[in-house]
């Protein structure tokens, strides 16, 4: 099979964070980890080209996956491989989107990343096989990936035995007993000693690796971001009040605060009277601008990002977080203050 491999700027040897804004390009044959992958695949399959893109460029715009897919197809791809992204959020997000787009277009594809990669949810129904957490685990990761590619090339679906990961889908079903009855049954079972019985797993808490602290706040570029749905009065760009599918960005250069009547919150999950009386209660622009003048921070970033948290899926929120981080890093911002309602 003719394979095309997608890697980010770092694994293509084009640079690190400094090269994260590079646009898409194609390199002939296998590059970076693709070389070992090719070796493991043997003679049956050929990595004919490697598509590369900078993480910031690719992660901050969902339409880039279509572009990348187009480039892979132009190289005659019969199967697309993306990653391994390990734990890198931006890289993982791009890989997941790319294989989802490929699958939707009828091109077999597989991504490789750690099961906890924040981007994994974007793969949807396209297969993702588990990578280790860090690049040190490259060899066993590529061995698994090569086996998965070989299997996929025969037309067989990938399963958990192949290292396939991605959350099990929880599908809504109508059952015979109403929830109240099931609750009583569950309580009786637990009182009788069955401490494992539950319909939904309990107690799982997320782990987020903390970013390193900034050296000095007084020198830092800081951005304000919010999920309180702060928008210009009248909501001209029609941000949803619940179940966000997008986020918006608005310039605040030269603004000393958010004036009531000029800005508002369209969040649906709570009463917005207090926030609309003083939008700085949702996005603390007035105080932050003062502190910027007083030298408490280096500079306040010239725009804020806004979306609504109410009813928004975790997968979407994770994606927005990765996109916000990419966009802010691109702009040289070192820290963000996120107000959450």
């Amino acid at each position: 099979m003719r394979l095309v491999h997608y890697v980010n700027q770092f694994y293509a040897g084009l640079g690190g964070e400094d090269a994260a804004d590079l646009g898409p390009r194609v390199l002939a044959g296998a590059t970076g980890p693709g070389r070992l992958l090719q070796q493991l695949l043997g003679a049956d399959h050929q990595i004919v080209a490697t598509v590369v893109c900078g993480d910031n460029y690719a992660a901050s715009d969902p339409s880039v996956s279509a572009e990348l897919l187009g480039m892979a197809r132009a190289e005659g791809a019969e199967l697309l491989i993306a990653g391994p992204a390990f734990g890198s959020g931006r890289y993982g997000l791009v890989c997941a989107r790319l294989v989802a787009a490929a699958q939707a277009a009828g091109l077999p594809a597989v991504a490789s990343m750690h099961p906890d990669n924040p981007g994994i949810g974007e793969a949807g129904a396209a297969p993702v096989v588990a990578a280790g957490a860090v690049a040190r685990q490259m060899r066993p990761t590529l061995e698994r990936l090569a086996a998965a590619v070989a299997k996929l090339a025969t037309g067989a679906p990938l399963t958990a035995a192949d290292g396939r990961v991605g959350a099990a889908a929880r599908i809504g079903r109508l059952v015979e007993d109403r929830a109240a009855k099931r609750a009583v049954e569950l309580v009786v079972a637990r009182l009788a000693g069955d401490r494992d019985a539950t319909e939904v797993p309990v107690g799982g808490f997320d782990v987020v690796v903390p970013a390193a602290p900034v050296d000095k706040a007084a020198a830092a570029a800081v951005a304000l971001v919010t999920e309180g749905a702060v928008v210009p009065f009248g909501n001209p760009d029609r941000l949803e009040s619940a179940r966000a599918t997008r986020w918006l960005r608005y310039p605040i250069e030269g603004l000393d605060g958010l004036a009531s009547g000029t800005w508002e919150s369209v969040a649906g999950g709570f009463a917005t009277t207090h926030a609309n009386a003083d939008p700085n209660r949702l996005l603390p622009l007035d105080a932050t601008r003062e502190l910027e003048r007083e030298g408490a921070i280096g500079r306040l970033h010239g725009e804020f990002f806004s979306t609504v948290g109410n009813g928004t899926t975790v997968a979407t929120a994770k994606r927005f977080g990765v996109e916000w981080a990419a966009a802010l890093r691109k702009a040289g911002v070192q820290a963000a203050i996120l107000t959450a309602t």
Binding site: G124, R164, I171, G172, R173, L174, A179, R182, L191, T198
Partner: protein
Amino acid sequence: MTALRRVVHEVHSVEFGPATGYHEHHLTVGREQVESLFADPALGAVRPRLASPGESIRIITPLDVVEPRSKGRGGGVFPGFLAPVNRKRGLDTHVLRGAAVLAAGYLPRNQEGLIDMSGPAAQLSPFSRTHNVVIEFDPAEGAPLLEAEQAVRRGLLRLAVALADAAVGSAPDAVEELAAPHRPGTPTGGLPRVGVITNLQTQGAFKDVFVYGASMAGSLPTLFDPAEIEDGAVVAGQYGHPALRNPTYLHQNHPVIAELRARDGHDLHFAGVVLCPEPVEQAGKEHVSAHAAWLCQAAGFDAAIVTKEGAGNADNDLGMKVDALEAAGLTAVALYAEMSGPDGTGPPLVAGPRRGAVVSTGNYDQRLTLPAVERALGGTRLRIIDAEATAAIEVPVAMILGGLSPLGAGRLTCRAEPPAVDLEEVA
């Protein structure tokens, strides 16, 4: 000892007529009576409509739903609104089972919902199975919307009583005797004492729930007489998430209380009901959860089932109560809706408890494809999805009124389906 007797009159069909009447399961709704019960300076036009199960009708922007009930000539249902709280309470409450009165129309903070009387969504709302008297309304020109809302509520409650009154003289289809909860300190025969904690959303205008006519905001949790809940002591003025709010009808027919009663004396004792507000800030939530756990313990509960109202914010109260109960040595089970995204692969609970057990009432984000319908009531356009109300539409379960019933009225749950398994491995 019987605390209340439900005298059940079934409704199998409904129509409008010159006067309200009930005869052999057929309910006639008097148009003039409806007009006079909704006459109020805050209301302009009031248009009563009917929607029965199986019809090709979609009710959009439904507001509160009330079951017709009456205590006959002495009155006594809806204490705090239509009756004084300290009243002489007869044992009999007449119920028009299979009928409902509801309002539909625009109010602020109402997240648009719908009820389909037929089709795929009909299995997901309890109100697809009731013969509905739907009151469309316009506020009077210049009237504050809060006053219009209060007028609509008064009208609904009065109409509910008036319709049930029509059946009071008829031979009932069933008489259901409801016992008082098991008294603490009396013999248990070794059976556990299980109660229910019901959290009420109390966020002010258009997002409030009333107990004896007053918002529960700022209250401490309290033990409450389930017979009073049967008689309409809890009335909903909360129009947030359609799938995750509890209309008055579902308090009157509280599913968890019903299921506990069904097993009362068999493998448990129904120990009672605790009502709680849902504070909107952390300190209040901690305070209410701690007090609720203490109260259940003091009342001698061995276990509690906890229900909520609302979405993510309410989940926080739910999780905190379960954790507080379990820490106090009580067994706790909560009813949660999952929010795992349209494909069901997101984490099911964001604000779940650390311990205890959870029943799923379905996935908020699951998509439904609904066919076009012949008629829509309540409005002509669904603004939230920018579509004609009668059109074929794709909506999340979140939009179906009662679709994820936090009180447990629905039959939805979620089952995990693992990634495809190799056929060879199964063999």
